[in-house]
Symmetry: C2
DNA sequence: AGCAAGTTTGCAGACCGTGCAGTTATACGC
DNA sequence: GCGTATAACTGCACGGTCTGCAAACTTGCT
């Protein structure tokens, strides 16, 4: 009956919807608990209780406790890959990266909560850094093509790590409150882009 | 008798020497085992057996299994701090960083082995990234002073992360063998420095 | 209804890491 | 030298993460 309605809302089967809901629940209760009493002080059993599932089930959804916190990493990664792949002809990878960061400024309340949780825990800050690596790899790949860089060329690594630093810096919302506005973020992005273009130009003149 | 020979070799007491030896032994056998059968496949019990100590003792020397691999991080950190603190008047923090990286090119065979071990394990690569953070913090501090940067200024983060990337890149010995010579490394450092100076200059002209 | 496939669960177990208390080795004053 | 204070080592028990496995359960489809 619904078999022929494959328009754009796939009307995911009950199974899929339930699964998604379970996943969302786990994320939500976990972040709430982490925010309330800290990441280390919250056990998998606590989360399982609050989400009304078995502890074992949590590991069916997330490979590790930390992965609950970074629940949307795969999605971000996919979006970044798409942004680099589908950028308009004639724009540089650097341009695409700037746009991507600017576009990723909005964050729902869950993501805000997540940032607090990460900021409150040493291990999670490490985890965040570590999980930035695949994103930088994506950037490096695109920049290598963009600059037609050879294997010994270090420019892609420099640029990618700098963009990563800018990304972190903008999302970290340290400093005074006025540095937390979209305008300020855009200004920072502009600065970073100018810096990197200047650096690339300096190398070009050697 | 030897009590009066306190020239420059402090002749650490037996206790201290033994402790140092135990630490060295643990590091050595651990790295050997990691290299032989992999980091994950080696348990603390294995290391304890091979080092002829109790498993419990290992945690008296290293806070975690990973810390065995990064046994010299504290020393590197101290050296970096000293290099930034004691740099000759008139040289920039960037100059000091370039010199520091150039000076840290030699590595004994244990450090080479360590790099192999890290390269072979996903988790250790993450750990390495995470442990770079305090070094970058040191750099950031020095660069902030150097540039007289305000709290909202992102230049220190950019520069530090780029230097960190260069540091990693040089130590990672990927690519062809000819890219693994000190000459090549120095050339890379020169490039990075030129890049960063160019970037800073570009921002200065705004 | 009933079968196939996917999901959830409990159980047992490996491993990391910590607190504690007892034992052993070193250092130091006499 | 000798005894005592001090530091290191050790064993033990425990809490926590994460995995493999097989049994129970739910969903999708005919």
């Amino acid at each position: 009956m619904f078999k022929h309605m494959d328009t754009d809302a796939p009307t995911l089967g009950l199974r899929e919807r339930k699964k998604q809901k379970t996943r969302d629940t786990i994320i939500k209760v976990a972040l709430d608990l982490f925010a309330e009493r800290g990441y280390e002080q919250t056990t998998i059993a606590d989360i399982a209780d609050a989400a009304d599932v078995s502890p074992r089930t949590i590991f069916a959804y997330f490979p590790s406790k930390e992965d609950i916190v970074f629940y949307d990493l795969a999605e971000v990664q996919a979006r970044l890959a798409a942004a680099l792949r589908n950028r308009p002809e004639g724009t540089t990878a650097l341009d695409a990266l700037g746009d991507f960061i600017a576009a990723s400024l909005e964050g729902d309340s869950q993501q805000v909560q997540r940032r607090c949780v990460i900021k409150a825990d040493e291990g999670l800050q490490r985890g965040k850094r570590a999980r930035l690596a695949p994103l930088e790899e994506l950037m490096i790949g695109a920049i290598v093509e963009d600059l037609d860089a050879g294997p010994g060329d270090i420019r892609p690594q420099i640029v990618a790590s700098a963009v990563g630093a800018a990304f972190s810096s903008i999302h970290d919302e340290n400093g005074p409150p006025e540095s937390n506005t979209p305008e300020h973020a855009k200004a920072v992005i502009e600065d970073v882009m100018a810096f990197l273009r200047g650096g690339l130009e300096a190398l070009r003149q050697r």
